[in-house]
C-alpha cells in the first residue's frame, strides 16, 4: 500500500516533509482518479485569503509531490498529471488504504446481511486494521479535507460497530467487554456502543454492570445533550431488567467431538547428541540450502557423505550442527555430533573414532568387534552423524565404511579430496552483509547504532565468523567500549589477534592449531610468506622470500593453501592468473610467529623480496619508458629470476597488477633499512606513477626513497628522486614547488658530474616556465637542455628538449618550425627506443598541421604524453 489517509497522511517510499505538499497530496488522494481544480486546491491551502503567489506556490507544492510520487514508480511514470482545470492523481485500487477500506467494508456488510458473521467480523476487522490514527491527520484541513475527515471517521465508527455486532452474534461477548469499555469511555454519547457493551456484559453474567452502563450513558446524554436515551437503548435496559431469554446468546450446535487421538506407540528414545542451537547463527543461506538438499537426498551428487571444509574459525561446526538440528524429521533414530580430537586437541585414531561413536550411541561393549557393533546399531536406521574436525581421510574412512546406512556430515580444515563418493562444500568467510549482520546479532544495539564502525570491524576480522563473534562478545563484555574504539584497537595488524581473545574464545589459538598441524617446512614457509606484500602476491614473490626456485615455491604455497593457511585466487584475465594471499588474521599470525620463532629469517627474506621487485620493476620500466630511470642498479637480481618471463611483453599490465605490492615493498625496504634497494625501487616505479598520475603512491614511494638515498649518502640517487618529485609537482600544476625541486636536482646532478641528469632538469624547469607563460625563458632552457643531450648522446633527453622547443614554436605561431622540431623529436625518441614518445611526436605533428595559421594561445596543449595544459583564457 503506497498511500495512506486513514491516519497521518503517508506515501511510500517517502512522505513530503512539509505540511502543505502533504495537504495537496491528501486532497488529490481523497478524490483520486478525479480532476481536482486548482481553485479547490488553493482554497484548501489558504482558504479565502490566498497570497499573491498562490498559483505559483501551488505549483511548487505540486512539483514537490510529483517528485515524491515518482520515487515510488518503478516504470518512472508520473501518476499526477495536469488536467484542466487542475490536476488528476491516478492511484491503483490496492495502493490507497481508503479504497481497500471501502472494499472490505462492503464485503463485511454483505456478509453480515447474509448472516455470515464470521466472515463479516473478519472483513470488518481487516478494514479497521488499516487505520493508524484519526483520518487525514498531521496536515492542515481546508474545507475538502475537513469534510472528508469527518466522513471517514464516521465510516470507521460504523464499521467498528458492525464488526462488534457480528462478534456478539458469534458469542465473543466476553472477549469484547474490555474493548467496549474503552470505546464507550472515549465516545460516551455513542448509544450503539453503549448498547453493545450492555449486551456483552449481560451475556457474560454481569447483569448489574450492564445496567450501570445504561445509567452512566443516560447521565452523559442528559448532562451533555439534555436528551434521554433512544427508545432502542431504553428497550434494551428493559430486556436486561426482565432477563429477556431472547437476549441470551445461543451457541450453534456443538462441534462434532474431535476424534480421540490414536494411542502413541512407545518407541526407543532417539539418540540426539548435538550442541545447543546458536540463537544468533547468521547467514550461510546458500550453503544451508545446499546442505538441506543433500540431507533430503536431492543434492547434485548422489552421496551420503557431505564433507564441509574451511579455514579455522569459519564456523564449520556451527554450520554442521545447524543442519543436524533442523533435520529431526528426516533422522528420527539418531542425530549425533562427535568431535574427532581429544581434549588436548590431538586427532583421534580411526579406532578411537569408532569407539566414540559406540559411546555416544550408548552401545554396551561386547565380545564383537567395534565395527560389527556399530554396524548392527545403525543398520536400517535413519541416523545422521556429524564427524567434526577430521584431520585426514584415513582417520574417518573406517567409520564411513561401517556407517553405510547412515548419513554423515564431515567437517575438516582441508578438503578430504581422497574420499570417494563424497559431496564437498567449502565454507568461506562470510560476505560483508552477513558479517555485519552477525556483529549486530551478537553485539547488540551498540553495533547496530554505529554501522560505519561495524562495517570496519567486519572488514578487520576478514569476515571470519569466530573473529566476528569474539569481537562482538568483547564489546558486550565491555559496555564502556564503543564499536569505534574496538575498530581502532583492531586496526593495528600486529595487535589484532591479541584483541580477539575473550575467555575461552581465542581466535589466535584456533588459527594456531592449523599452523601446528603442518610440518616444519610448511611452518617455515608460512612464517616467511607473512612478509609478502598485501593484498596478494605472485609465485615469484614466494620464490624470492623462500629462496626457492619456482617449482619448489609452488609446492610450498599449494600445501599451505590445502591446509587453509593461505588462499589462492584465480584471475584468468590477469597477467599472473594465480595469486596467493593471506586472510588478514592469518597474516597477522604469520608475522607474530615469525617474530617469536625465527626473527633472524626476516631481514634476508626482505632483502631477497626487494631485489626481486627491483629487478622486475627496472625491467618493466625499461620497456615502458626506455632510458628514463637514471638510477644505477642497487643490487644483483636473485638467482633464477627471469624478468622477461615474468613481465613478458606487457609492462603496463605488470605494473597494474604489482603496484600495491610494489609500494608495500618500498615501505618494507625502508623499514628494514635497506636504503639502496628502497631508493632504487622507488625510482624504477616512477615512470609508471607518472604515466598514470598516481600521485599518492608516487609521493609516498619517492619520499621514502629520498630519505633512503640520504641515509645511504647517495647524492645521485637523491638527485634522481628529486627530479621525479619535481615531475610530480609539475603534473600537479604546482609550478613553484616544481621549479624549486628541478633546481635542487640540477645542483645535485651537477655536483655528481651527471650531465645527462642535469640536462633533463633544465627541460623540466623549462616546462614550468612554459606553463607560466614565460615562453622566451622556456625556449632558452629547452635549448640548453638540447645542447647537453646532444653532447652526452642522450636521445631521450634530446627528444624531451625538442618536444619543448616544438611547443614554444607552436605557442609563438611558428608552425613550420614546430613541425620540424617534432620530426626530429620523433626520430630521437625512436633512437631512444621509446614508442610512446615517438607516437606523441607524430600525434603532435598531426595536431599542429591541422591548426589555423594563427593558433589561439588559449588552446589546450598536450605538453607531455597524456598531459594537457589549459592556459589561462
Amino acid at each position: 500500500m503506497r498511500f495512506r489517509v486513514l491516519g497521518p497522511v503517508r506515501v511510500a517510499p517517502r512522505t513530503p516533509t512539509a505540511a502543505k505538499p502533504r495537504a495537496v497530496l491528501a486532497t488529490l488522494l481523497i478524490q483520486s482518479d478525479k480532476v481536482v481544480s486548482t481553485h479547490t486546491l488553493i482554497d484548501e491551502l489558504w482558504g479565502t485569503e490566498p497570497p499573491r503567489t498562490a498559483t505559483t506556490t501551488l505549483q511548487v507544492y505540486v512539483s514537490q509531490v510529483r517528485r515524491v510520487l515518482l520515487e515510488g514508480e518503478p516504470d518512472g511514470r508520473q501518476p499526477l498529471i495536469t488536467r484542466p482545470p487542475g490536476y488528476l492523481l491516478r492511484v491503483a485500487p490496492d495502493d490507497l488504504d481508503l479504497t481497500v477500506f471501502e472494499r472490505l467494508r462492503e464485503t463485511g456488510r454483505a456478509a453480515y446481511a447474509r448472516r455470515d458473521y464470521a466472515e463479516a467480523s473478519r472483513r470488518l476487522r481487516e478494514a479497521l486494521a488499516l487505520w493508524t490514527g484519526p483520518a487525514l491527520s498531521g496536515i492542515p484541513h481546508g474545507p475538502t479535507l475537513q469534510t472528508s475527515a469527518i466522513r471517514l471517521d464516521e465510516l470507521r465508527a460504523e464499521v467498528l460497530e458492525q464488526g462488534i455486532a457480528a462478534e456478539l452474534r458469534l458469542g465473543l461477548h466476553q472477549e469484547l467487554v474490555g474493548e467496549l469499555m474503552a470505546l464507550t469511555r472515549e465516545q460516551p454519547l455513542r448509544e450503539s456502543l453503549q448498547g453493545h457493551l450492555m449486551v456483552a456484559l449481560y451475556r457474560s453474567g454481569r447483569q448489574s454492570e450492564a445496567l450501570a452502563v445504561y445509567r452512566r450513558a443516560r447521565r452523559s446524554l442528559v448532562d451533555e445533550l439534555g436528551v434521554e436515551p433512544s427508545p432502542a437503548l431504553r428497550k434494551l435496559q428493559e430486556r436486561i431488567l426482565t432477563s429477556d431469554p431472547s437476549l441470551t446468546w445461543r451457541p450453534a450446535a456443538p462441534d462434532t467431538p474431535s476424534r480421540t487421538p490414536a494411542p502413541t506407540v512407545p518407541q526407543d528414545a532417539p539418540a540426539v547428541r548435538l550442541p545447543s542451537p546458536l540463537p544468533d547463527f547468521t547467514g550461510r543461506t546458500g550453503e544451508l540450502g545446499l546442505g538441506e538438499r543433500f540431507l533430503a537426498g536431492t543434492g547434485p551428487v548422489d552421496s551420503r557423505v557431505l564433507a564441509v571444509s574451511g579455514r579455522p574459525g569459519a564456523g564449520k561446526t556451527a554450520f554442521a550442527a545447524r543442519l543436524a538440528q533442523a533435520a529431526g524429521d528426516r533422522f528420527p533414530d539418531a542425530r549425533v555430533l562427535l568431535t574427532l580430537r581429544d581434549s588436548g586437541g590431538r586427532a583421534l585414531s580411526a579406532e578411537a573414532v569408532m569407539a566414540g561413536l559406540l559411546r555416544v550411541l550408548e552401545v554396551p561393549a561386547g565380545p564383537e568387534a567395534a565395527e560389527d557393533l556399530l554396524h548392527a546399531r545403525t543398520r536400517g536406521r535413519k541416523m545422521l552423524f556429524v564427524l567434526d574436525d577430521a584431520v585426514s581421510e584415513a582417520q574417518v574412512r573406517p567409520a564411513l565404511s561401517v556407517l553405510s546406512d547412515s548419513t554423515v556430515v564431515l567437517t575438516s580444515r582441508h578438503a578430504l579430496g581422497a574420499l570417494e563418493g563424497v559431496q564437498h562444500l567449502v565454507l568461506d568467510v562470510l560476505n560483508r552483509a552477513d558479517a555485519e549482520a552477525l556483529l549486530v546479532n551478537c553485539g547488540g544495539t551498540a553495533m547496530s547504532e554505529d554501522p560505519a564502525s561495524t562495517a570496519e570491524i567486519a572488514r578487520l576480522c576478514g569476515g571470519l565468523p569466530l573473529a566476528l563473534r569474539v569481537a562482538a562478545a568483547g564489546l558486550v563484555a565491555r559496555p564502556h567500549w564503543t564499536p569505534a574504539e574496538l575498530a581502532r584497537r583492531l586496526a593495528d595488524e600486529r595487535g589484532r589477534l591479541a584483541a580477539l581473545r575473550l575467555g575461552d574464545l581465542d581466535v589466535r589459538g584456533s588459527l594456531l592449531t592449523a599452523y601446528r598441524d603442518v610440518d616444519a617446512d610448511n611452518r617455515h614457509a608460512f612464517r616467511v610468506l607473512g612478509l609478502a606484500p598485501l593484498p596478494d602476491f605472485a609465485l615469484w614473490s614466494a620464490g624470492a622470500l623462500l629462496a626457492a626456485d619456482l617449482p619448489e615455491a609452488e609446492r610450498r604455497v599449494e600445501e599451505l593453501v590445502r591446509a587453509r593457511l593461505l588462499e589462492a585466487v584465480r584471475r584468468p584475465d590477469r597477467l599472473t592468473p594465480v595469486r596467493y594471499g593471506f586472510h588478514s588474521l592469518l597474516r597477522g599470525l604469520a608475522l607474530e610467529v615469525l617474530a617469536e620463532e625465527s626473527p633472524q629469517q626476516a631481514p634476508p627474506a626482505t632483502d631477497r623480496l626487494c631485489r626481486a621487485y627491483a629487478t622486475l620493476t627496472r625491467h618493466a620500466d625499461g620497456l615502458l619508458a626506455p632510458g628514463r630511470d637514471l638510477m644505477p642498479a642497487a643490487s644483483a637480481p636473485p638467482a633464477g629470476l627471469d624478468p622477461a618471463a615474468v613481465v613478458g611483453p606487457a609492462p603496463l599490465r605488470w605494473f597494474q597488477e604489482e603496484a600495491p605490492g610494489l609500494l608495500e615493498t618500498v615501505r618494507q625496504a625502508h623499514r628494514a633499512g635497506l636504503w639502496r634497494q628502497c631508493a632504487a625501487l622507488a625510482s624504477a616505479a616512477g615512470g609508471y606513477y607518472e604515466a598514470n598520475a598516481l600521485w599518492a603512491d608516487w609521493q609516498e614511494s619517492h619520499e621514502l626513497g629520498l630519505d633512503a638515498a640520504r641515509e645511504a649518502d647517495d647524492s645521485l640517487a637523491e638527485a634522481v628522486l628529486l627530479r621525479s618529485l619535481a615531475d610530480l609537482e609539475w603534473q600537479r600544476h604546482h609550478p613553484g614547488a616544481a621549479r624549486d625541486l628541478y633546481r635542487l636536482a640540477w645542483q645535485l646532478f651537477t655536483r655528481s658530474g651527471h650531465r645527462v641528469g642535469a640536462g633533463r632538469c633544465l627541460t623540466g624547469e623549462a616546462d614550468v616556465l612554459l606553463g607560466l607563460g614565460r615562453v622566451a625563458r622556456a625556449e632558452r632552457g629547452y635549448a640548453r637542455a638540447l645542447s647537453v643531450a646532444r653532447t652526452e648522446a642522450d636521445p631521450r633527453g634530446e627528444a624531451d628538449a625538442l618536444r619543448g622547443l616544438a611547443l614554444v614554436a607552436q605557442r609563438e605561431g611558428r608552425l613550420r618550425e614546430a613541425l620540424d622540431r617534432l620530426a626530429v623529436c620523433g626520430a630521437a625518441a625512436g633512437r631512444a627506443g621509446d614508442e610512446r614518445w615517438r607516437a606523441y611526436a607524430g600525434r603532435r605533428a598531426a595536431a599542429v598541421s591541422a591548426l589555423p595559421e594563427a593558433p589561439l594561445a588559449s588552446q589546450p596543449l598536450e605538453v607531455r604524453p597524456g598531459v594537457w595544459l589549459f592556459p589561462d583564457a
Partner: protein
C-alpha cells in the same frame, strides 16, 4: 530532457593540467580514448581571490571551482577522447557537488592546490560514439580528499536542441502572459547578505514572503551576464549554482539565523528540466525542511555545526527549468 548549454572554456579556473590515465597498452601508447570509462586527473592552483568576484573576503573556497573543472574536463574529453562530433551540442542534464570535509575549503592565505580524480563513462553508444557522458569526481585540496562532483552530459543534435528550446520558451511566454511569476520587485539585498562586497554581484532579489513554507526569489539573469562565464546570448550555467548559493544564504539567515559570512553551500544537486531562456523573468523558490515542533529544521554535522537542507527550483513562468537540493552549513 532539459539542460543548460555547456561552455568550451572559461577563465574561472586559471591555467590547469588535465592528465589522461591510460588503462590499456593502446591508450598508453597512443593516448587514444576507448568507448569505456576513462580516468583523468585535473590539477590547478586555487586563486588567492575569488575567480569571479574578486576580493570578497569569503572564508571558504567556492564550489564553482570543482563544478567548472568537471564541466570543462568532461566537455574537452568528450570531443578529444570520445570523438563526439563538434556539431552536437553538449548540454548538462544533471550536476552535483558537495563538500565532505570543510577544513581544506577554508582559505588560509597560501595558494592551495585543487585536484579532481575524474571517471568519465560514455553512455548510449551509437556506432562507437556516445550520446551521453556520466562524470564522477573526487575533489582534493592540498592532497586531502574533501569533496565530490558529478555531472551527466548529453550530446544533442541541433534539431532536437532547437525543438526543446522553442517549446520551452513558448510555454514560459504563454504562462507569463497569464500572470505567472509576476511578483513585482521587492528590492535587492545588501551584498553582505550573500557573501559579497559589490552590489553588482548580487544576483537574487529579496524574497517575496507570501507563504510560510516557500520563499520566492527573483533571479537577475541579465546581471549575471558579464560577471559569470558564459556564451553570448545565453544564461551562464554557473548562474544556477551562484543563485542557489545566494538564495540559500538569505533563506538560511531568515529561517534559521545563519550568519551569511560564516555560511557556505556544502551540497548542491541539480537536475535540469528545461532551458532557461534569456530575456524571460527567472525566479527561484526555496523551501526548507519542517519538523513537528516549533524549532527550525536544522541538524548538526559531526563537528556540531548547524546545517540545513534546502529544496530549490528555478522557474520561468509555470515552467520549472531546474530542480535543486542543497545544504548550507554555518561554519563556526
Amino acid at each position: 530532457m532539459a539542460t543548460v548549454p555547456a561552455l568550451s572554456t572559461s577563465s574561472v579556473l586559471g591555467p590547469f593540467h588535465l592528465v589522461h590515465k591510460p588503462d590499456s597498452p593502446e591508450t598508453f601508447l597512443l593516448d587514444s580514448g576507448a568507448p569505456s570509462c576513462q580516468r583523468f586527473v585535473f590539477a590547478a592552483e586555487l586563486p588567492d581571490e575569488h575567480a569571479l568576484f574578486g576580493a570578497t573576503g569569503a572564508a571558504h573556497h567556492d564550489l564553482v571551482m570543482p563544478v567548472e573543472a568537471l564541466r570543462q574536463a568532461a566537455v574537452f574529453a568528450a570531443r578529444h577522447y570520445f570523438r563526439v562530433p563538434e556539431k552536437r551540442l553538449t548540454v548538462v542534464a544533471e550536476a552535483a557537488t558537495g563538500i565532505t570535509d570543510v577544513e581544506p575549503w577554508r582559505r588560509t592565505g597560501h595558494r592551495a592546490q585543487i585536484a579532481l580524480e575524474l571517471d568519465l563513462t560514455p553512455t548510449d553508444m551509437v556506432l562507437g560514439v556516445p550520446r551521453g557522458l556520466v562524470c564522477e569526481a573526487v575533489v582534493s585540496i592540498d592532497g586531502r580528499p574533501c569533496g565530490t562532483a558529478s555531472a551527466r552530459l548529453v550530446f544533442l543534435t541541433p534539431g532536437i536542441y532547437r525543438g526543446h528550446r522553442e517549446a520551452g520558451r513558448r510555454q514560459s511566454e504563454e504562462s507569463l502572459a497569464r500572470g505567472f511569476g509576476d511578483f513585482g520587485s521587492p528590492g535587492r539585498p545588501e551584498p553582505s547578505r550573500v557573501g559579497h562586497t559589490e552590489p553588482r554581484h548580487v544576483l537574487v532579489g529579496l524574497p517575496v514572503e507570501d507563504d510560510d513554507e516557500v520563499l520566492l526569489f527573483p533571479v537577475d539573469g541579465a546581471a549575471a551576464d558579464g560577471i559569470l562565464p558564459g556564451e553570448p546570448g545565453e544564461l551562464p550555467p554557473v548562474l544556477y549554482l551562484e543563485a542557489s548559493r545566494q538564495a540559500g544564504l538569505i533563506a538560511c539567515a531568515e529561517l534559521y539565523g545563519f550568519a551569511p559570512d560564516r555560511s557556505l553551500l556544502t551540497g548542491w544537486q541539480a537536475s535540469f528540466r528545461g532551458f532557461a531562456e534569456p530575456g524571460l523573468p527567472l525566479y527561484c523558490t526555496v523551501s526548507g525542511p519542517r519538523t513537528d515542533g516549533a524549532a527550525a529544521a536544522t541538524a548538526r554535522d559531526a563537528a556540531g555545526r548547524p546545517t540545513t537542507a534546502l529544496t530549490l527550483a528555478f522557474w520561468q513562468g509555470d515552467r520549472e527549468v531546474a530542480r535543486i537540493s542543497a545544504s548550507v552549513l554555518q561554519d563556526c
